[in-house]
Amino acid sequence: MIRNDVLKSILPIITNELVICNIGSPSQELFSLDDQTSNFYMLGTMGLCSSIGLGLAMAQPEKVIAIDGDGSILTNMGTLPTIANNVADNFILLIIDNGSYGSTGDQPTYAGKKTSLSAVARACGCENVVECQAKDTADELKKALASNQMTVIVCKCLSGNVKVPVIEMNPVIIADRFMTEVGRRQS
């Protein structure tokens, strides 16, 4: 399974959650598979998906899933101690770890070599860390959502992207649409 297969497999699990999606192929693939007003797509700024997700989870009560990547976490490794030390039980960090920088041409990451992101997350103090094979991701996500505990899921999958167009939606519209959805739920 590659990232796009993992995304397809978790779509039935994501029913009412707010989603922050990583820059590049992850956002483009999710947008092509199932665009929702509850999705926030990153168009730039490599690395900050998990930070945006944590900030959102801390700010409001709805459940938040940050769909991040191994390369992005490596870019912003400081995010894991911040997540560990600011527990938001409505936050799930799903790291789709395909061992490569997918959007830039599948260059290998260190997460595909000696570095274990689940071990790093645990060492940083994250309490609920699950590493799973791609085919089990949907089940693990379901369990994490049911647990009502902040969870980091590291999904090990194969490297590869599907050919989908870039997102042409205006960033201000992406944010406004998403904030309207968040606001609708608070009212």
């Binding site: 945006i52 700010a59 995010t79």
Partner: protein, 167 residues
């Protein structure tokens, strides 16, 4: 009535709706950060790097908070991409309370190097910039925060050593 300038600045931020603060420490801002951390009217999430902090602020803003980032001017070098492609691109308002190191009174020579680039970088990024240099300059803070929300832009509030010594 808060007793010192650090507390007055934080109280003013809170009075103008700031309820989420992320910070990366600076000696000059130690009092502000401590007071923010002990204040239950504002959520304080220390970050490890300023671009990470801006990500937290972007998420908090979309969740209905009014964020602020507290950092040193050296962070302008760290956050150029984040300011352009996240904060400005999506039009997230973000006041940046910045310790302006490397100005008159600076004891550490290396700090001068980024001070030389600070205003030029902010200018290049088209970031509205305000400089607190003398006692009383902080009176503008409330208007700056209103202006930040109104314009939906990042704004820079540079606070130098002379300000902190005399205010």
């Amino acid at each position: 009535m808060a007793s010192n300038i650090s507390e007055r600045i934080v109280d003013d931020m809170i009075a103008h709706g700031i309820d989420f603060v992320t910070s990366v420490p600076c000696k000059q801002l130690a009092g502000v950060i401590e007071y923010v951390g002990n204040n239950d009217k504002v959520m304080h999430v220390p970050s490890n790097k300023e671009d990470e902090g801006m990500g937290l602020c972007a998420g908090a803003y979309m969740g209905g908070k009014r964020p602020c980032i507290i950092m040193q001017n050296t962070a302008i070098g760290v956050t150029v991409n984040t300011l352009a492609t996240l904060i400005q691109y999506y039009q997230f308002p973000l006041p940046m309370l910045i310790s302006y190191r490397g100005e008159l009174g600076e004891p550490v020579a290396c700090q001068v190097e980024m001070a030389l680039h600070t205003k030029a970088l902010l200018d290049q990024l088209h970031i509205p910039t305000f400089h607190f240099h003398k006692k009383g300059d902080e009176a503008e803070l409330g208007d700056i925060l209103k202006y930040t929300q109104m314009s939906k832009k990042p704004t820079a509030i540079l606070t130098d050593a002379f300000f902190w010594r005399t205010a």
